[in-house]
Symmetry: C2
Subunit: 407 residues, 2 copies
DNA sequence: CAAATAAGTCCTAAAAGCAAACAATATATC
DNA sequence: GATATATTGTTTGCTTTTAGGACTTATTTG
């Protein structure tokens, strides 16, 4: 039950019905491809005539194409299968992180084309933008067969303004109010979309074409690495809030008297479960500050820690178990606040999931208000799936499939 | 940018455009009444002919009516003013609380008719329902002139299932999985809608017809009394989550090592800022447990405490200031998580708002991530406005004005 | 080879937005 | 006081779009 905003509404024009049904058809083809016109009509509960018209319109715009004929169902004419047209068009995803920047090319449905490449991030935009543009052109030139690039999606670990024009604040990159989109678009000649990485990851999961995802219009993506990034999906839409800064559950406290967080406050969830927090717990001292580390701590990662834990290092296991417990306690807040149908978790700590899952689940149940809250589905997204890069790609690919704005 | 759920969509039928524009027209009349057909057409950016047809349809359904002619604007024919038809139809709002149950009658726009009545709550449904039904019939009989009752809205301090059929858990009433709606509907012969009080309050603010509310499709209602109830509005819609239990920010922790909360966990926001928590702080001992209180503490309320604080009692002021600080710290979590355009606060503590506002605001700024987060508009809703009862009424009145489900 | 069945196309009717003309009414100006 | 002008609200023809059904095409089965 949505209220119509009397200051910002959209009246239905003559083409509105058509627009709505066209997008529904497009989404059904995407979800069920390959599919025939007749099946589409049945799914939509409209006459075959209407479905045919919608299909021919989508064909004209080259959003879909007719593939081979399918097998006859019983007897009778064989159906012509329809597919989303992801041929000869691609999308570039870019993930800018504090240490390295990653690039991936996919088709319009997010299927990976070629390998992920990366290079060291130079935080100076005057250096970064030209290098990024050069590498994007390079990777596109290397894959001429995949056709024209529809757009570049960029995710950053920080806040982005509602229009995507400016990165307002990215602490780990020490960026404040910088414009990445326009210079990069100018340098590449390709439209660029930028978004916070947590929101983009949530978007990517929402739009993922997996058969196992059953209508999860309410979900949360939690990315645990240097910080904790969270993206929230409500009613099939990414939660943005008034200034596009919603979703910062990483800075909701577990204990306001807890350790100091990079955001300036104390006891944020992030300050308990980030990789640095876990390592600090293991080494028994605060690693967040930029003081010179010892030979060992300088290069030691959470993955190394997990390896030690699996090898029997009790201290390592204890550090990880603590993180698991805090992870669960924080997830409980998330569940109490949002009651999502599913939680996705990404980040290095997930490689230890088999070790920590019972602890996470136990801590979660301690604080969730309801029984079904305690059993909320948790889905691990492994690093090999490149959730952030898929998020970046989704920024470009998803809008074409979105529901039209109406009423 | 909303995703179309391929398992739950609505195709546009022949009447869909009409339905959309009809609801837009209805909402614009509601927001701008009195208004002429010509002005409506200008607002909607359609031809007057279309607006006229929509209006005549709304007139046929008696959703609006034609009032007197307005003054001619410049020269030319005088406009006929249109109004929402709230004559001869009313709504009953019911607020069931642990100690007392309140009843109010309003018109379809939520304008109060007559006084608020109340009686002691008997938690036994077999007693409560007949008494409630009797009193509802009574109050309707007392106001025969206000016409037929369109529905009864009931709010309870607890969780309600998504269909509104059952109260799943209301701790302060010690109700678990009880059906209030159907017995009450049977006893009164009027349709009954039930919802959690926090969600209903948020709904009421969303639908409030006040000129000062400018397009706040993202807002939060925080009700501080025995517990902390929260209702969230996102994109003009109440946040429900998978099981209609979203919004329980009262049980997001400030410190997981904090005081025990009624929910069983420790350190919930509620356990810091509820009235009982404030009083416990003043008396220096835990009042949550049902042990016999002293003569003074038994009847002493937060309002009494505020009166003492205003009279110069330093200990009382300190207790209230503590609550204020914790209130601000919790609001910061809310802002970081949801980035609302506005926060509404209700409950007894708001009578001390002039005392505590700087402290609340200061604590809030300590933990909000962004500058604009720290300046989020906070709007106090005084008890005289009966936010919960208005919420109950909104449950009945709002659906008629809601946007149609499309795509 | 004929019957049955499914896919896809085409035609007509009803509904709704769009556009312009028309009637009614009020004010301004000469 | 007569005429011009502006505004409201209604009406009429036109176009687009969905609904429903008939028709054509293609394929399998008996």
């Amino acid at each position: 039950m949505r209220k119509i905003d009397p200051h910002d509404f959209k009246v239905a024009r003559r083409g509105t019905s058509r627009e709505i049904n066209r997008q529904i058809a497009l989404n059904l083809i995407r979800a069920h491809q390959p599919i025939s016109r007749a099946d589409l009509a049945r799914l939509m509960n409209v006459r075959r005539g209407v479905a045919s018209l919608l299909v021919s319109e989508l064909l004209d715009e080259a959003l879909i194409f007719e593939g081979a004929l399918g097998e006859a169902v019983g007897r009778g004419r064989r159906p012509t299968f329809l597919y989303i047209d992801s041929r000869q068009r691609c999308v570039v995803g870019v993930d800018i992180r504090a240490s390295r920047t990653y690039i991936m090319v996919t088709d319009l449905l997010g299927h990976q084309l070629g390998a992920v490449s990366s290079f060291q991030t130079n935080r100076d935009l005057d250096v970064l933008i030209p290098e990024l543009a050069r590498r994007i052109r390079q990777v596109l030139a290397d894959h001429k067969e995949i056709g024209a690039c529809e757009g570049v999606g960029v995710v950053v670990p920080g806040m982005v303004d509602p229009t995507g024009g400016r990165v307002l604040h990215a602490p780990t990159l020490s960026w404040r109010d910088v414009n990445v989109r326009d210079p990069l678009a100018a340098a590449t000649g390709i439209p660029v979309h930028i978004e916070n990485s947590g929101k983009a990851c949530a978007l990517a999961q929402l739009w993922a074409t997996r058969s196992d995802v059953v209508a999860s219009g309410n979900s949360v993506f939690v990315s645990v690495s240097d910080g904790v990034g969270v993206g929230v999906v409500v009613n099939g839409e990414v939660l943005r809030g008034r200034h596009n800064t919603a979703g910062e559950f990483g800075h909701v406290p577990l204990s306001i008297d807890g350790p100091r967080c990079s955001c300036g406050a104390t006891g944020c969830w992030e300050s308990y479960v980030s990789n640095i927090a876990t390592l600090s717990r293991y080494f028994g001292r605060d690693l967040t500050e930029a003081k010179p580390r010892g030979a060992e701590t300088a290069t030691f990662t959470v993955e190394d820690l997990i390896a030690r834990a699996r090898a029997g290092d009790a201290k390592a296991l204890a550090a990880i178990n603590s993180t698991a417990r805090y992870l669960g306690l924080g997830l409980a807040s998330l569940i109490n606040a949002l009651d999502p149908a599913r939680i996705y978790i990404g980040g290095e700590i997930t490689t230890a999931w088999s070790l920590i899952e019972p602890i996470v689940r136990g801590a979660l149940k301690e604080r969730t208000l309801t029984d079904f809250g305690g059993t909320t589905e948790i889905h691990v997204v492994p690093a090999e799936e490149h959730p952030r890069l898929r998020g970046a790609v989704a920024l470009v690919a998803a809008p074409a499939f979105a529901a039209p704005m109406v009423a």
